[in-house]
């Protein structure tokens, strides 16, 4: 453990030790209340009856737990369908991002074709464009693709293809591939391996951690996205979870909306708890040391 702002020794001695443990206890309790508290309130609140939720002061634990709210949310909002749609879009997003973005990053890092740097520069430049600025022309493009004149509304491609255009992923992958020694690639070439073969048998097996990070980001991006799926998936059959819940929120009792929100949040929370190490390392390596 390297030294930080306050030295180890200072924290171990008398007053420092006392202060350290008090502060730690305060922060642990405080953070639990601030970050876990609202989630507790959400999960238990959705178990209360409409009467109990309107009561002052609010009850800490539902007196008569109404699991019916969760059942209603599941049935009335057709959450199974919404959940399936979101999973389907997320799976496709992972697949297409892995295929196209890895291939592109491999080309930019190892094959280095002519104008590769120009293309990389144009891709990275898109990181500077705020998403809201592009929303209208992107929508106009999606309802009438140039040249082939296809309408992507209500088609999963409308979610998958724009997600491939992710400069951050390509940058992450390229940086990882850059760190793979050139000798390995040269050796494979001497053995007569084609570029595809090199990518498949040498680069990809070495890149599992970064591929994991990209996949997790793809899933959470689809799960959290709201405006784009709302625009390009207008019919009730193709909606995602967030959009579906929003669409129903007007005519549904509050507790049922909250119950649906809890159900919608479960998959990402599970993914987070399972893969928190990968997520955190991806988040920090991606943004640092650019």
């Amino acid at each position: 453990m390297s030294r930080t702002l306050i030295s180890q020794a200072q924290l171990r001695r008398g007053r420092g030790k006392y202060l350290y443990w008090t502060l730690l206890a305060v922060v642990v309790v405080g953070f639990t209340l601030v970050f876990l508290g609202p989630l507790y309130w959400m999960v238990t609140g959705a178990l209360k009856s409409g009467q109990e939720i309107a009561q002052t002061p609010p009850t800490l634990w539902p007196r008569d737990p109404q699991t019916q709210n969760y059942v209603d949310a599941w049935n009335n909002l057709d959450l199974a369908k919404l959940m399936f749609n979101t999973f389907y879009y997320a799976a496709g997003a992972v697949f297409f991002q892995l295929v196209f973005d890895t291939a592109a990053a491999y080309a930019l890092s190892k094959l280095r074709p002519a104008f590769g740097n120009v293309i990389l520069g144009l891709m990275l430049a898109t990181l500077m464009i705020p998403a809201m600025v592009l929303i209208v022309p992107q929508y106009v493009t999606a309802i009438d693709l140039p040249i082939i004149h296809v309408n992507l509304l209500d088609s999963p491609w409308a979610i998958w293809l724009p997600l491939v255009a992710n400069a951050f992923n390509i940058f992450l992958l390229k940086r990882f591939f850059d760190s793979i020694p050139e000798d390995l690639i040269a050796a494979a070439q001497v053995d007569g391996a084609s570029p595809l073969r090199t990518l498949w048998s040498i680069i990809l097996p070495m890149s599992r951690p970064i591929l994991g990070v990209v996949s997790i980001f793809a899933v959470t991006a689809v799960w959290k996205d709201f405006l784009w799926p709302k625009l390009v998936m207008p019919s009730p059959e193709t909606r995602t979870l967030s959009v579906g819940i929003y669409a129903f929120s007007g005519g549904t009792p509050q507790n049922v909306v909250i119950a649906a929100s809890v159900i919608a949040a479960i998959p990402t929370v599970i993914i987070f708890l399972l893969f928190q190490r990968n997520i955190m390392s991806g988040l920090t390596t991606g943004s640092l040391k650019g």
Partner: protein, 312 residues
């Protein structure tokens, strides 16, 4: 921005007098490389590069009953004449500044604090990042229905009442709308900033603190003279990213305030783009507003980069 200056100057690679087989191989290698790139390039072209140009073109056109005509600055004058235009900018700026004061300074100090602890590190880190993983719609319904319930049964009002503080109407009160959106947005998003700061704090060499302490620097002095200069780059980068992100405020007004909010107190520029484009059937006006937003953000970024690089 940078993307608009697409290099059209194709540097004709006049191949040196080489053998045909060498040239052929080079061409083949290039073709293979571009074959690997093509999928991503097509997606970028369709959903990033083309829409960027299309947005600017659209902002000078008007499409009525399938017929598109050039209308000069009409879309811009119409959008600026909209009474909500200035209100939306005002709200967006106030939100951005408040979100910056709270959501930028707070994560830095949280990260410094977490970095000092030798225990419960993993647990605290998970807690801070947990809200980031929730779908924003889920988190915002929680705030809307439970936290910002204007009666005394609401979570925040119950706490305020318990502490004998005056309760608030939250989203029903025009003055509380923006602060309430800042609280929700900071709660949802601060986790990523905290983790990024934590990573950069861990790169600070311990000797610097050692030396500062030997020179008699107290804790605040050490933060000021060691921590902040050492994390300067990441601090500058995150400030910019955060401003660009908060200027695009959209889902908070949409869900918390049903769009415009009490007396237009929540209308944001991004919400106005959405309103014009998808409810008032004015995609061209919305595109013009998008271009205005792009120019404001680009101008801001340019000034910001100039300021931060000058200090070096």
């Amino acid at each position: 921005m940078a993307i608009m200056t697409a290099p059209s100057a194709v540097t004709t690679t006049k191949a040196p007098p080489a053998t045909v087989s060498k040239r052929g191989r080079k061409l083949r290698d290039n073709l293979t490389g571009h074959a690997f790139l093509i999928g991503a390039v097509v997606c970028f072209a369709l959903f990033m590069w083309y829409p960027m140009i299309r947005g600017i073109v659209m902002s000078f056109q008007r499409t009525r009953r399938g017929e598109t005509t050039w209308v000069g600055w009409d879309n811009y004058t119409r959008i600026i004449a909209d009474p909500s235009f200035w209100i939306a900018w005002k709200n967006t700026f106030i939100f951005t500044i408040m979100a910056l004061v709270v959501g930028y300074v707070l994560p830095f100090f949280v990260a410094i604090l977490l970095n000092e602890f030798r225990h419960a590190k993993g647990y605290l880190r998970i807690l801070v990042y947990l809200p980031v993983m929730l779908p924003p719609a889920s988190a915002l319904f929680l705030f809307k229905y439970y936290a910002y319930d204007p009666s005394d049964a609401g979570l925040f009002n119950a706490i305020l009442k318990f502490l004998h503080l005056p309760t608030s109407e939250w989203m029903q009160s025009p003055t509380m709308t923006i602060p309430a959106m800042v609280i929700a947005s900071t709660w949802m998003n601060m986790g990523s900033a905290v983790l990024i700061y934590l990573a950069s704090l861990q790169n600070i060499p311990g000797e610097l603190y050692e030396a500062a302490e030997l020179d008699g620097a107290g804790i605040w002095r050490r933060i000021w003279s060691v921590t902040i200069p050492q994390t300067r780059l990441i601090l500058a980068l995150l400030a910019m990213l955060q401003i660009v992100a908060t200027m695009q405020l959209f889902i908070e007004p949409l869900i918390l305030a049903n769009g415009a909010g009490t007396q237009d107190s929540a209308t944001s520029v991004a919400y106005l783009i959405y309103q014009h484009g998808f409810f008032q059937n004015d995609l061209n006006g919305a595109a013009a507003l998008g271009v205005i937003m792009l120019i404001v953000l680009a101008a801001f970024s340019a000034v910001y980069v100039r300021l931060t690089t000058k200090q070096d």
